[in-house]
């Protein structure tokens, strides 16, 4: 996107006033999306996002700017304006830039951008037909397929020899939303499986038929669901997307962006017990082709499998370059950003609670009265206090070890510190689920994951009174 010579000039302009690190992040992101409404193509679009972000660090201070004008004049002007926020003398001049090499984790042969929109439309039509066919009370069905190919170039320097990284991120995601109506009762269900993979994954490996049918069935089942009770209850959380509990309740509070400034409940927790000893957790950006995986992070560091919690003890944070300086630790491949408009910071990739020993059916069998949450809409957390919330999109009552009636309008709230200690059963059925996580550096694709777990007590909010 820019020449090596221009990169050299821009880096040196950025370092003119005593910056000790400069970085140029260029991006050309082509995204395509088709969307069908009740089986008919409603929209088919192609968008190009294009631009460059420049960052300069001086110790633990940073300046960042971006522009979609990648001309020499524009980039030098931006670098110079940013540099003038620092006052100091040049520490070094970048004289050469070397090309960096790294392992390709997300190998893709059949690129999604090479697949004609017509083929994606046919695929979505089959999905839509299955979802709509579940029941005549499905009054609206939106099925879409979105994919993007992001060409990235990073140029950075913190000495006389800089580095140049070229990377490609490719992702695709199927979206299914079903709306069911019975009189005035309107309910909806959503599914959104995604992968950093080629077209054959979506057509051959993904169980799209079952996903389509399940989404329609969920919307229909919600029509007869009763209101969720409110109070403090034992909650069993199904594997896969249920891992959003760890993501919200604990994951964000283990990001160095929160811990380095002492703005997290886990700021000083390394080496301390923060969870029940049966809990171990990882953030692994290296799982081939997974939704949250990357070859390198947004700063050029290779991604890693970082263990965050080992047998209940906090052993590491997710650390980006800037917050690594604050913590006195090395970055560990977790610096991410939505696009060039965002300054990168530590973020999760594929974050999960490791598998335990219990059979999921035993966990339910051993629960006398509680809630069984099988799917979530999502949630949020305030890392400083650790208070989190997440809403269940599919949940049931457990009585005497049996899963019984479905409930709707179920929200779980609590404190991350408490919930990790209150996990009293961990299943052996680890699975991952896909989502988009929003935080300081924008929306990034993440996998959440866990086996089936049980939390001895969580505050449950609903409109259904006391659980009996």
């Amino acid at each position: 996107m820019i020449s090596k010579q221009l990169a050299l000039e821009v880096l040196n302009a950025a370092l003119e006033t005593g910056g000790d690190y400069a970085e140029i992040y260029c991006e050309n992101n082509i995204s395509e999306a088709v969307s069908l409404e009740n089986g008919k193509v409603e929209s088919s679009t192609r968008n190009l996002s294009y631009g460059c972000g420049i960052r300069i660090l001086q110790g633990t201070n940073s300046v960042y700017g971006y522009t979609s004008d990648l001309s020499k004049k524009s980039l030098l002007a931006l670098a110079s304006s940013l540099a003038h926020r620092f006052t100091g003398n040049r520490l070094f001049t970048v004289k050469a830039i070397e090309n960096a090499k790294f392992k390709i984790i997300n190998k893709i042969k059949d690129h999604l951008t090479d697949v004609p929109a017509s083929e994606k439309i046919e695929y979505c039509k089959k999905v839509s037909e299955l979802t709509q066919g579940v029941d005549e009370r499905i009054v609206r069905c939106i099925v879409g397929f979105g994919d993007n190919k992001k060409d990235i170039e990073i140029w950075n320097a913190e000495g006389e020899t800089g580095k140049h990284f070229t990377n490609v991120e490719e992702r695709g995601r199927l979206h299914i939303m079903a709306v069911a109506k019975d009189g005035d009762n309107l309910q909806s269900a959503f599914a959104g499986p995604g992968m950093s993979a080629g077209w054959s994954y979506f057509t051959d490996k993904l169980d799209w038929k079952n996903t389509a049918l399940h989404t329609g069935k969920m919307a229909i089942d919600l029509l007869s669901a009763v209101e969720c009770p409110q109070g403090k209850y034992t909650v069993v959380i199904k594997n896969g997307w249920g891992g959003v509990i760890f993501h919200e309740a604990c994951g964000h509070s283990l990001e160095a962006s929160a811990t380095a400034k002492h703005m997290s409940v886990f700021s000083d927790s390394i080496g301390k017990q923060i969870a029940n000893p049966i809990v171990s957790a990882f953030d692994d950006g290296t799982i081939p082709n997974e939704w949250g995986s990357n070859n390198i992070d947004s700063e050029g560091h290779v991604t890693q499998n970082n263990q965050l919690i080992k047998d209940g003890i906090c052993v590491n944070f997710m650390i980006d370059k800037l917050n690594g300086r604050r913590l006195g630790k090395e970055a560990n491949g977790t610096s991410r950003r939505q696009n060039y408009k965002f300054e990168p910071t530590s973020r999760m990739s594929n974050t999960y609670i490791a598998a335990g020993k219990d059979k999921p059916e035993d966990i339910i069998k051993d629960t006398k009265l509680g809630i069984y949450v099988t799917n979530f809409g999502g949630g949020s957390v305030e890392p400083t206090t650790g208070n989190f919330n997440f809403s269940a999109s599919e949940a049931y009552i457990i009585r005497n070890g049996e899963v019984q009636e479905m409930v709707k309008g179920c929200t779980l709230i609590g404190s991350g510190k408490d919930i990790l200690m209150n996990i009293d059963r961990v299943g052996n059925d680890l699975d991952l689920g896909q989502g988009n996580c929003g935080a300081a550096s924008g929306m990034v694709p993440v996998n959440v994951g866990q086996p089936t777990i049980r939390v001895s007590e969580i505050t449950v909010g609903g409109r259904g009174g006391e659980l009996k």
Binding site: S44, R46, Y50, G65, S68, T459, R463
Partner: protein, 440 residues
């Protein structure tokens, strides 16, 4: 880019009529952390969204790359988009409204104020926050962000509309600590005139807000008369405004199906859409180039109109309300700034008769805790008990659940502490007859 060159290329390629929306912004954002500029950013955005009619169907495409390849990219994108579309009821490209109500919303004074003065303002705020002392233990951030944006709309019929505006946002967060108990509080202000900003009052309110949360517990679960702070009421009202989209109604996805002209709220509720309000949110044309006007949405509890674009208006046999919004490649519907009429009562007068109730000051997780189709919601909340007509002990980690339409029908009244929120809803605190609170 010269729009006429795009229109010529589009016409040559068989696109019968087209429109081009060019928008962009330049922003500067400065954050302090522990007396140093911790983050400084300069942002320059620009986007072109082109739409057109090809073979009788609507197509759209966008790019941020403003070079020589842009015209070909946009023209090819429109053709591909329209060719794949199976929607045959497009209203085409709008020629233009007879009159537009343009206002100058660009403050030269704000733009000309030196950046050092703005930095010194946030330094002053940070000093005041630290000076508050115990139990304020830390200042998370003090941020100043200023944005100047432009929006230009052109179409192949010769319509040219331009809008330019700027504003600032000041944002700060503090941490209060007492033993093991940690509380945070955030607040913001925005506008076009920083000379009116009262740093003393802002800092004091922010610190007091954090300290007031100490000792927060869960109340007994149950149904309570509930005072919703204006920010909470505004968040919930946002879902009502989304549901009022004629597009959602016509697609069977709204809890306002069949409610146009009917009573949807208590008679205390009066809502007006005010896109022409002078200031940072001003807008005088919609995504189709239709002139916007201020209009009543809810009049004494009665829903006077849905929000329409030209296509949904035609389906309903109505006129467009100037609410077209082009997003995701299709011409959808969206609303602009909205105001809810406050009353003359103070907060104390409004809750004077509440024997035992709850004051909700913050909610979290509404985005996922809301069923936008039915209006049912459940989310995390915090606030205070109301006892014998007065605010009492703090509440923490409780849940608030209810239904948006029921909430509006149960509005007993508003107080007089009106505020326009950054999200584009202006309102005061609202007292609701009864809402479900989850706690102990």
């Amino acid at each position: 880019m010269n729009p006429n060159k795009f229109f010529e290329a589009a016409k040559k390629a068989g696109i019968s009529a087209s429109q081009l929306h060019i928008s962009g912004s330049s922003s500067t954002s400065i954050s302090l952390f522990h007396h140093e500029i911790d983050s400084y950013s300069i942002e320059n955005d620009q986007t072109m969204v082109a739409s057109g009619i090809y073979d009788g169907k609507f197509g759209s495409c966008s790019t941020e790359k403003f070079d020589n390849s842009a015209i070909d990219f946009l023209v090819a994108g429109i053709i591909q988009s329209a060719s794949n579309s199976e929607k045959s009821d497009s209203e085409g490209i709008f020629e233009g409204s007879p009159k537009y109500f343009k206002k100058n919303c660009f403050s030269k004074e704000l733009s000309d104020t030196p950046i050092e003065k703005k930095i010194s303002l946030i330094k002053d705020i940070e000093d005041k926050l630290f000076a508050y002392g115990d139990p304020i233990s830390d200042v998370q951030t003090v941020t100043y962000a200023e944005s100047s944006s432009f929006s230009e709309f052109y179409n192949s019929f010769g319509l040219k509309l331009k809008n330019k505006k700027n504003h600032f946002v000041l944002y700060a967060g503090v941490v209060a600590t007492k033993g093991e108990e940690v509380k945070t509080n955030f607040d913001y202000d925005f506008g076009t005139d920083i000379s009116k900003f009262d740093a003393d009052a802002f800092s004091k309110k922010l610190c007091e807000g954090a300290i007031a949360k100490f000792g927060g517990t869960q109340c007994d679960a149950g149904k309570y008369p509930t005072l919703l702070r204006k920010n909470v009421f505004a968040d919930l009202l946002g879902y009502f405004l989304d549901a009022n989209s004629a597009d959602e109604v016509q697609r069977n996805s709204s809890f306002l199906i069949g409610k146009e002209g009917a009573k949807v709220a208590s008679s205390k509720v009066n809502i007006e859409e005010i896109p022409l309000l002078k200031g940072p949110m001003f807008t005088y044309f919609d995504g189709e180039g239709v002139a916007k006007i201020n209009r009543k949405i809810v009049d004494k509890g009665v829903l006077t109109t849905h929000f329409y674009n030209r296509e949904t208006a035609k389906k309903a046999g109505k006129e467009t309300t100037g609410n077209a919004r082009l997003a995701g490649g299709k011409m959808g519907v969206g609303c602009s700034t909205v105001t809810v009429k406050p009353s003359k009562k103070s907060q104390a007068e409004l809750i004077a008769d509440v024997k035992e109730g709850v004051y909700i000051t913050e909610v979290a997780g509404l985005g996922t805790g809301m069923n936008a189709n039915s209006g049912d919601f459940s989310c995390q909340a915090e606030g205070f008990m109301i006892r014998d007509g007065k605010l009492a002990e703090p509440l923490d980690l409780i849940t608030l659940s209810g239904n948006v339409l029921k909430m509006l029908n149960d509005v007993k009244g508003f107080d007089n502490e009106y505020r326009m929120m950054l999200g584009g809803v202006g309102c005061a605190d609202a007292l609701i007859k009864g809402m479900n609170i989850g706690g102990k």
